[in-house]
Amino acid sequence: MEALNIPQVEWSALLPVLTVVGAALLVLILELFLPRGQHTPLMLVGLLGLGLAGYFQLALWGASLVTWAETALSDNIAVLLNLAILVSSGLVLLFADDYLRARNMRYGEFYPLLLFATAGAMLMISSTNLMVVFLGLEVLSLSLYVLTGLARAEVRSEEAALKYFLLGAFASAFFLYGIALLYGAQGSVDMRVISASWVASMPGKMTNALLVASLALMLVGLGFKAALAPFHMWTPDVYQGAPTVATAYMAAVSKVAAFGVLLRLLSAAMPMLDLWSPIMWAIALLSMLVGNLVALIQRDAKRMLAYSSVGHAGYLAVGLVSMNMTSLTGVLFYLVAYALMTVGAFGVLSLMARAGDATTVDALRGLARRQPFAAFAMAILMLSLAGIPPTAGFWGKWYLFLGALEGGQTLLAIVLALTSVVGAAYYLRLTFSLYADALEAPAARWSVPAPMVVCLLICLIGLIGLGIAPRPLAESSRQAVERMANGEWQVVSGE
């Protein structure tokens, strides 16, 4: 019997995730010692942890480490997407306190749950080992189920949580079965082995069939997390029912994490391109059409953004189908921009929901008179979501569009452009209603709290900055994708 080696580990690769987990545990303990409802210190500790994790993450830029018995990895894709996750978590933390207080949900567990979810999402991206990816997915999902049902006194919130929970657990069972079949085919659950096993497997043989089935099942599980049609049914209900701060968080973070994994998985399954690309093609087309067309007839702004997030998932899927340098660069760029736009947009909606106003598009009418800054920020965010220059949303779509043309997916490129026009229709309708006269007197007067101002300013500066100078981020994304394609790994393991 062989002995198991104790692998050598490189701590720095997991340091960002560990820092977030540490902050979460610290917040969990700290909450016990604080008077009820006093959560500002929790927020500060959380922000400090996220900032520190961001610093450690930035320090890993350029390194391609594979360590912890090849279960942890740090490459530029992980750095880029983890930073996007950390920034969105930080922004949500900034404005959550005010919302929770106003809605009478002074539950201290919000902060540790949010930090645990962040750690889970980061873990998903920081590994090619599907066991670690699965654990990250579950840590993220379980925290999100609880965050969705955080408004314990509201039936809406609990129903959303139940729906999200049942469908989420269902989807992760599919994902798991896919991993099990992959294990059967290659004796390892590492994504990087897939291409070699596929090349070695013979058509008509067991291994071959197992690999195909496993990829299909994993796509179901990840498609659910990423809210791709036809696995998007939960999205509108959960986005609408969850407390708006939780919606802001899950919309941004779970999309980044799920697409990070999809990006890694599909590029690892590159030799099987002929098999999965028609499926992803159909998924991308369906998501773009369903998301944008259904969003057009929504009256509730949260539901509208939910359907539009399905549409955005479709755009990102176009980038994955095209599978070339430009399109994958586009996917990374778009994910970063999308995280900023979504957090900001739901942030403004949380201001309204906080004051007890409805979140319908009609209730947004006349916002510019009452709250010029919030309305201005919302307008810019909507323009960016619609993909109008000079905002980051435009460049994201541009790279995806170019990538689709380069990859020969002309039809998808055309549908992407056309559905963007449909998208612009409902985003602009919302923007115009901000500057139109109110239908009736607003239910309550409210002000924009200082943390929210900071958060919106960060979103706006980020989006317009990336819109004017997209080059640094685009170059870094391209570099990250190239490094992954070349498979330059520095494996730290051994005896």
Partner: protein, 106 residues
């Protein structure tokens, strides 16, 4: 001793998974739906263990076994969260039937 072939285990697991998936789609009680999901997870565990039995080296065998342990742990965590949500809903409205859980549909 005649060993049970791997294909038998795998077929059983596939059947269990299919039964679980069908149950999720047709049952109305969230607790029963949840039991069906557990059935699917156990089918996955059976698949893992069957494949682990046929791995050539120890490292690969252990990878499968460890995965099963993690799945069991995650399933337990899911039970805690899921039942918690169901209990809160029951307190709020005295019913948990998923058909009546439809406030969100406009």
């Amino acid at each position: 001793m005649t060993a049970v072939p791997a294909s038998a285990y795998l077929t059983l697991a596939a059947f269990l998974f299919a039964i679980g998936a069908a149950g999720v789609l047709i049952k109305r009680n969230p607790i029963v739906i949840f039991m069906c999901i557990e059935l699917m997870l156990n089918a996955v565990n059976l698949t893992f263990l069957t494949f682990a039995l046929h791995q050539p080296n120890l490292q690969a065998q252990v990878a499968g076994h460890v995965f099963v342990l993690f799945v069991i742990g995650v399933a337990a965590a899911e039970v805690a969260v899921g039942l918690g949500i169901i209990v809160v809903i029951f307190r709020l409205r005295e019913t948990i039937d998923v058909d009546s859980v439809s406030l969100l549909r406009e």
